[in-house]
């Protein structure tokens, strides 16, 4: 197991030759494999491979020729010879419809030691601990190297109660930079206090003789450039046995699950953020409902205003939820609010001036202001009279980073002047709340032919002060 910590360790040279039980190793790796030696004598069949039709332990010691008939793969023995002389790997389809990969085994110097047939389908599920069929292999080290060296997860094979490392694949070694893991005990590789999980896991596997699955653990990695990051791991410790059945050691595999963990963390953060937003939204609804009700004299009018305002809050909130992915040109926001009044309203509106892209929070606030303007025009202003029109002028304001929006209503026969816009909330919003929120200047004036509202606001939100 990649023990998850680093330390200094003198390189050992007096390590006994590695002799783990290869059957246990292949079983732990869960690979359906048949292994033949250079003479094409079948030497090894994993329990996973024994589930395939016609594959039995009786094949051990026989020539691979016999597989040709069993698997329905004519010429398989010739292909095995071809891959062993360096002709790459092959894939055959067996009679039962599963793909079979044919590849050569090499030793550390690149010499060919045999041939591996690997079933690549999912196959039947085999409970762990099944019996493999094998004969003694000439060179376990070769087999391990072929199967495990380039695995995308860390594999370490450790012997005895001290978990003395007798095999470490490349990934395992990246866990112990500058340290030779072979021959080291777990205590030497990894101080107990730094990773109690690894000690517990390997001890449990060794003592009980049963496979152990690790809890997800994490550690803070310090990279050579001094940067740190937290990495998360999960793993399996599988005991292997001597031929007499005694537990000889533990094979441990460690998988990095940092991405999955980060995904989970992100989810939790999103849920918490969502909960916060929902509660804030309810608070906003509460505020708008209260303000709508304060000066209400007519229940139907209150309900009407409140529902339209809730709808506007919904549109405004979209900008906050959508984040930076959503474009927010000012002209579109104006059109969208006018759309709420029906398509024919556009005939009575002139929208002109330079368009500008707004930041999310600004857009959200502008939507609320526009809603009060359009709704007020419907109830008391230009849209309430037969011939009223509205001009909306967008511009660049007075300063370099200022935008302006001027809403002017014109009606030849304006309604009798109403100094209050029904419940007063619209005016409060337009003249006090929105300007303060945006850091803007606002003016609201009544003229003989209608109201004029001017808002000058920063092109981007001011930094919090």
């Amino acid at each position: 197991m990649a023990d998850g910590c680093t330390g200094s360790l003198d390189r050992r040279t007096d390590i006994p030759a590695a002799q783990p039980d290869a059957a246990s190793i292949l079983r732990a790796a869960g690979v359906p494999v048949i292994v033949a030696d250079r003479n094409l004598t079948i030497r090894f069949i994993t329990s996973q491979a024994l589930t395939r039709p016609g594959i039995t332990a009786d094949l051990i010691g026989q020539s691979a020729d016999s597989l040709t008939e069993t698997l329905g793969t004519r010429g398989l023995d010739n292909e095995m010879r071809e891959v062993m002389v360096g002709a790459g790997s092959r894939t055959r389809r067996t009679a039962s419809g599963e793909d079979l990969r044919v590849a050569a085994c090499h030793d550390t110097t690149g010499g060919v030691t045999g041939c591996i047939l690997q079933f690549t389908g999912t196959g039947p599920v085999v409970p762990p601990g099944g019996d493999d069929a094998y004969s003694l292999l000439d060179d376990n080290e070769t087999l391990l190297r072929d199967l495990l060296s380039n695995a995308p997860f860390a594999v370490g094979i450790h012997r005895g109660p001290e978990h003395t490392c007798i095999f470490a694949n490349d990934e395992f070694r990246t866990w112990h930079p500058g340290v030779e893991p072979l021959g080291s005990t777990l205590a030497e590789r990894c101080v107990l206090g730094e990773n109690p999980g690894a000690h517990k896991l390997l001890d449990a596997a060794f003592q009980t003789g049963k496979a152990q699955i690790a809890q997800t653990t994490s550690y803070l990695e310090t990279r050579p450039d001094g940067q740190t990051r937290r990495r998360y791991f999960s793993g399996v410790a599988e005991p292997y046995r001597t031929r007499s059945g005694a537990v000889a050691g533990v094979m441990a595999m460690t998988f990095e699950v940092t991405e999955q963990q980060m995904w989970r963390d992100r989810q939790e953060l999103l849920v918490s953020e969502l909960r916060h937003r929902v509660k804030n939204l309810l608070a906003i609804v509460q505020a708008v409902a209260a303000f709508s009700a304060y000066n209400a004299s007519d229940k139907d009018d209150l309900l009407d205003r409140l529902q339209l305002r809730l709808e506007a809050i919904g549109r405004a909130n979209l900008h906050l939820v959508a984040g930076s992915a959503m474009p927010r040109p000012l002209h579109d926001l104006v059109r969208q609010e006018l759309d709420q009044l029906g398509p024919e309203i556009h005939d009575r509106v002139t929208l002109r001036g330079a368009d500008a892209e707004l930041e999310a929070a600004t857009a959200s606030t502008i939507v609320l202001a526009l809603h009060e303007l359009t709704n007020n025009a419907v109830k008391h202003g230009a849209f309430a009279s037969e011939d009223g029109v509205v001009t909306i002028e967008c511009g660049s304001g007075r300063g370099p980073n200022e935008l302006s929006l001027v809403w002017s209503e014109h009606a030849d026969h304006p309604l009798p002047e109403t100094t209050e816009d029904g419940d007063g909330f619209g005016k409060l919003l337009l003249t006090e709340l929105v300007p303060r929120e945006l850091g803007a200047h606002a003016s609201f004036s009544y003229r003989p032919d209608g109201i004029v509202y001017e808002l000058r606001f920063p092109a981007t939100m001011p930094a919090p002060t």
Binding site: S272, K279, A283, Q286, A287, F291, E437
Partner: protein, 127 residues
Amino acid sequence: MTRRPRILVVEDEFLYAALLKRILSDAGFEVVGPHATVDAAIAEIAAANSGLDGATLDLSLAGGQTSGPVAQALWDRGIPFLFLTGDDSILDASAAPMSPRPVVLVKPVPVARVVREVQSMVTPPHV
């Protein structure tokens, strides 16, 4: 004739801030703020003539800020405060050292309850 109690309001959601200002004003308090940022609130507290009698604090403010430093500044001056927040999950960390623990109201909360809690906050016990 006593002056109206001065209540600092820290709240970054402008519509809710307006509601708080309205209900507290209607209930006879003088509202200071509302302030939307930690810096503005702390400047207000530090102002020599602020004479605050209490405060309501939204816990999480825009830009990832929390009103923890504001609570600390109030605590240092013995000014009572309550939390009025949509995010009570981060409260434990912020309020842990405080004793007695401040009242926590989770939005949305009836406005009458807010007024009641602010009233009992600024009313000295045994009176």
